[in-house]
Symmetry: C2
DNA sequence: CTGAAAGCGCTTACAG
DNA sequence: CTGAAAGCGCTTACAG
């Protein structure tokens, strides 16, 4: 592998000059510049990033910490899109991304490897359950960081997520517009970092606006798995006065609910309307395809990375939470209440 | 951040000595060793990897290049498991992993960033379509590399994948044992790197052994998406003498086939048996749950990383293809032929 | 067992 | 505009 010395020798200049054309400094003669560039091409030269980082204090890599509890694998497609978003904008900025999916127990060591070894310039974290990320530790370290995806507004800075409140509001408003009055809610778990509270708030607002009442008995809690959706639907549909529609806080639980309803001989959407959240590929695989609230995980990843680079470059000291749009996608599981 | 100088000063030794205890060299007095360790703890010291790498020629990071064509997102859960496997064994070896999911067009620059910047000690690649990876370029570079997952045996070294032939053999043998004689095959695309040929070979062997004939008209080609499975099933089920069972080369196509069959009023498994490949979560979400051939992507990732470290450490010069087990998982879509 | 010194490949004041 | 020199934080012969 060619080094800066090889280039300098071939171009007949000093390594300082080579370094200057590398960093695009203005004060280099056109002649030197051209010769250096020619030499670089001939030698197929790329600067060694470790060396550059050592003198630079920039490593040109960011860390990406994502949860990987196999039990929460429900979010795979969503998660993968976030990763992909981060990765693609990192690439366009000539940055590499170091990935950590370590389990809870290894989290600490992931931090160590990432932070204390001087390997990264910044960090984006995707959180699901509370307590996964140690804010204090990270803040003390002082590394630029942005939190992407699920995170609730515990910390109203440097985070980007979708408009959870609005999504839930749209879902319930739509059901109300179809004439549904008794609307069951399948919520996510309370210790989940995803904005359960924000979504419930959206539900309440829609209900209030539609002149319907929020009934706590119509709220059932799941853990985002299909099975928990099945059980939650069971609780909801065996109520004395069963709901005519259900809004589930993710698609998988909606699918679980769908299965339970079917087993009970309920037709969808004739006897029960159903609406999910996320818009993962699964929604168009089930029959009928699931009406849902779409999120844009790729955009979440891109935005997070973009802001992180602003932080790293000092263009930003901090930034207020960025809330990304959601949209209602009407498919086959919703229908007028009869 | 503390440096090796800080530690040396505090422990009252030279940095050489600190470096020695860091690398666990035997010839250090117990006393020095203890003092150094104490100092490291007090300062919360971690060696700077860029510096170490610079003098070492080891960076302690491996690259992971995976395909990310949105169109092939079908493999997400499978892919994520491979990534997770690689990452976890990298971690236990104190290695970090640099991820690249660049699109085809950016592939080259991913290589550049990874290889020519001296950032990685080794590489694991996950390939899907032919031509995604430039073997020649990589071989010339001479970096240790292993290919994981889908890759066909074009290059019978340094690759790890599942036993494609056996999987297909098991699927078809099972259908034969249920009395099926006319068995439709929904194959993957021919330009896919996955071992389509090996699987077709397994099909032929099973058929021969069962005294049935291989009929090319019963083979339909899809591209691994649900939609292509739907269309392939259409081709197969409108044949003059329709098959009583179908083996699809992935679960998504099997699900597409399921949908088409249903639309035609065929009951599953009463009128048509169906068997997939991979065993992704989807299999247990559809109704009835899909009989399939299970792969172990996490193990593929782990094994690939493990072998890569052997390559990096010089314990191995090269290794012959590692073929991992598969297993038949009987669920609800297969039944005796009547 | 211990440490001074050179070197890994770059960048950045600094002097010319 | 150009280049000699110091320094980034480590490791590794080498001499003691």
């Amino acid at each position: 592998m060619a080094t800066i010395y090889d280039v300098a020798r071939l171009a007949n200049v000093s390594i300082t000059t080579v370094s200057k054309v590398l960093s695009n400094t203005p004060y280099v003669s056109a002649r030197s510049k051209q010769r250096v560039q020619e030499a670089m091409r001939q030698l197929n030269y790329s600067p060694n990033l470790a060396a550059r980082g050592l003198s630079n204090k920039h490593t040109y890599v960011i860390g990406l910490i994502v949860p990987s509890d196999p039990d929460t694998s429900f979010h795979d497609p969503f998660l993968l899109e976030i990763i992909r978003g981060v990765e693609s904008t990192a690439n366009t900025n000539d940055y590499n991304v170091l990935l950590s999916m370590s389990k809870q127990t290894n989290r600490r060591s992931a931090y160590r490897r990432f932070l204390h070894t001087g390997y990264i310039d910044g960090l984006v974290t995707v959180e699901t359950y509370q307590g996964e990320i140690n804010d204090k530790e990270l803040d003390e370290h002082g590394i630029p960081r942005v939190s992407a995806g699920y995170r609730e507004d515990l910390r109203p800075i440097n985070t980007v997520h979708c408009d959870d409140r609005l999504g839930a509001y749209q879902a319930v408003s739509y059901l109300l517009s179809l004439g549904h009055r008794r609307i069951g809610i399948i919520s996510g778990p309370k210790n989940f970092v995803v904005a359960i509270e924000a979504r419930l708030q959206g539900v309440r607002e829609a209900l209030a606006e539609g002149g319907a009442e929020f009934d706590q008995r119509l709220v059932s809690y799941g853990d985002f798995t299909t099975e928990s959706g099945y059980r939650a639907a069971q609780a909801l549909l065996t109520l004395p006065e069963r709901p005519s529609a259900i809004f589930a806080m993710n698609d998988r639980m909606a699918v679980g609910a769908m299965r339970y309803a079917r087993e009970q001989g309920l037709r969808i959407p004739e006897d029960l309307s159903l609406i999910g959240f996320d818009d993962v590929p699964l929604t168009t695989i089930v029959e009928p395809p699931l009406t849902t609230i779409r999120q844009f995980p790729n955009m979440i990843g891109k935005t997070a990375a973009d802001r992180l680079f602003a932080l790293i470059n000092g263009e930003l000291e901090t930034f207020p939470t960025i809330v990304l749009p959601v949209e209602l996608v009407v498919r086959g599981t919703t229908r007028k209440c009869v």
